[in-house]
């Protein structure tokens, strides 16, 4: 039987990827960001997950306005880094886990989640930057990845409560898979940021830290936060944080926090990072 062995949350700021790709990771500005992931790198080298179910959002890369899925699950064999306008990131391609992904898709649809099944798409920084943060710069990613893209670009995204409920259904789906796999669920994006308008540059460390507390200890309360509160408190793009609730829903009621990191700034954004395990 497949098992969910841990949950990870992390920001997926594109500038982090650019810093790595352009050899600027050693600069003091970026060193402050990467230092927060030293623990994660040692930890995941020992954990050796077989599959990462990676919740992220596409940023007008794979999906234009022609077609906007609320929830898209990647069931393909392979996903290539997207060309986001300056050529694809020089990182490995992503190997999918089609058998498990199709199983999850079937299970979630029968559980009343109206997924879009995607066999072919490119994956942008939303997916590849978290892999870089957790695994560094290997020649190939050391595990398979199921991309799970959530619409947070066109309003309205799914509610936090919907994402949390989906996480719970995801746990049932993964645990009913007939295969001895260690699966991690990652929730990416956030924390507070606004990339647009006169209010650009908004950072709300108080909100972010309260959200980190809630995600760990009171996920029901985190799931109850309405869209407008994310936008007001965490900025128009801070609404990406709803994606963390899918990870949290998949972990069960009580969790142990193995690691927590919070830092401002990375480009326009606050960086938040958690490693959680279901409590024994």
């Amino acid at each position: 039987m497949a098992k969910i062995t841990a949950g990870v949350t992390t920001s997926h700021v594109p500038a982090i990827g650019a810093a790595l790709d352009n050899g600027r990771a050693g600069e003091p500005y970026w060193q402050k960001v990467f230092s927060g992931y030293e623990f994660a790198k040692r930890w995941i080298a020992e954990e050796k997950p077989d599959v990462v179910f990676l919740v992220y959002n596409d940023h007008a890369s794979a999906f234009s306005l022609d077609l906007i899925p609320t929830f898209a699950i990647g069931t393909g064999e392979r996903f290539n880094p997207a060309d986001e306008g300056w050529g694809p990131r020089p990182v490995p391609g992503v190997e999918g886990a089609p058998e498990l992904a199709f199983h999850i898709a079937q299970s979630l649809i029968l559980d009343d989640f109206d997924l879009t099944i995607v066999n072919k798409m490119d994956v942008d920084h939303g997916l590849t930057v978290p892999l870089s943060l957790m695994f560094g710069q290997p020649d190939a990613w050391p595990c398979k990845v199921i991309p799970f893209a959530v619409n947070v670009v066109q309003y309205p995204p799914p509610s936090g409560a919907r994402c949390y409920a989906l996480g719970k259904a995801l746990r049932r789906a993964i645990e009913s898979f007939d295969g001895d796999l260690k699966v991690q669920v990652w929730g990416t994006g956030g924390m507070s940021h606004q990339l647009q308008g006169p209010r650009a540059g908004l950072i709300n460390a108080e909100f972010d830290n309260r959200f980190l507390d809630l995600i760990v200890n009171d996920p029901e309360a985190a799931a109850a936060i309405p869209h407008v509160e994310y936008i007001r408190e965490a900025g128009s793009e801070g609404i990406e944080l709803v994606m963390w609730l899918i990870m949290r829903g998949a972990l069960g009621d009580k969790v142990d926090q193995l690691h927590r990191f919070y830092h401002v700034p990375a480009s326009n954004t606050a960086v938040g990072h958690l490693i959680l395990k279901g409590a024994a």
Binding site: Q194, P198, R199, A200, I203, N204, N268
Partner: protein, 131 residues
């Protein structure tokens, strides 16, 4: 009763909702076209000629040419789509964000290093009309 927009009162912020998506459809699809190198080259060679291939309003075209991002947001642009314009110009997200706030990139970067803009200062934006 139309759908509520509980976010409408947040200053300095345009939410890319159904109404914005409708008016911005062709503008955003134009932006998306800049993900291809040959389209970028044609756009760079002649902004106006390239824009005229798209079913955009004159206002939208002017705002693209002026790189007036606040105006583009008001006219239905979404920031992740608009990013294809400033990426084509070789400019960063931080540069573009700074122009929307009216700060220089240096001022803006300094604000970020100091912890960013606090939502407690939202009232300072009330007097700055945008879009």
């Amino acid at each position: 009763m139309p759908l509520e927009k509980p976010y409408a009162s947040i200053p300095g912020t345009v939410i890319f909702d159904a109404d914005q998506a409708r008016v911005g459809y062709h503008l955003n699809q134009f932006c998306m076209s800049l993900m291809k190198a040959d389209n970028r080259a044609r756009f760079k060679a002649d902004n106006r000629a390239y824009l005229d291939e798209w079913a955009m309003s004159e206002e939208q075209k002017q705002a693209v040419i002026a790189r007036d991002y606040n105006r583009l947001l008001a006219l239905g642009g979404n920031v992740y789509f608009l990013a294809k314009i400033f990426s084509s110009d070789g400019l960063s997200f931080q540069f573009a964000a700074a122009t929307m706030t009216g700060m220089s990139q240096e001022e803006y970067a300094a604000m970020m290093l100091n912890g960013g803009r606090s939502p407690k200062n939202d009232h300072l934006l009330e007097t700055k009309p945008h879009g």
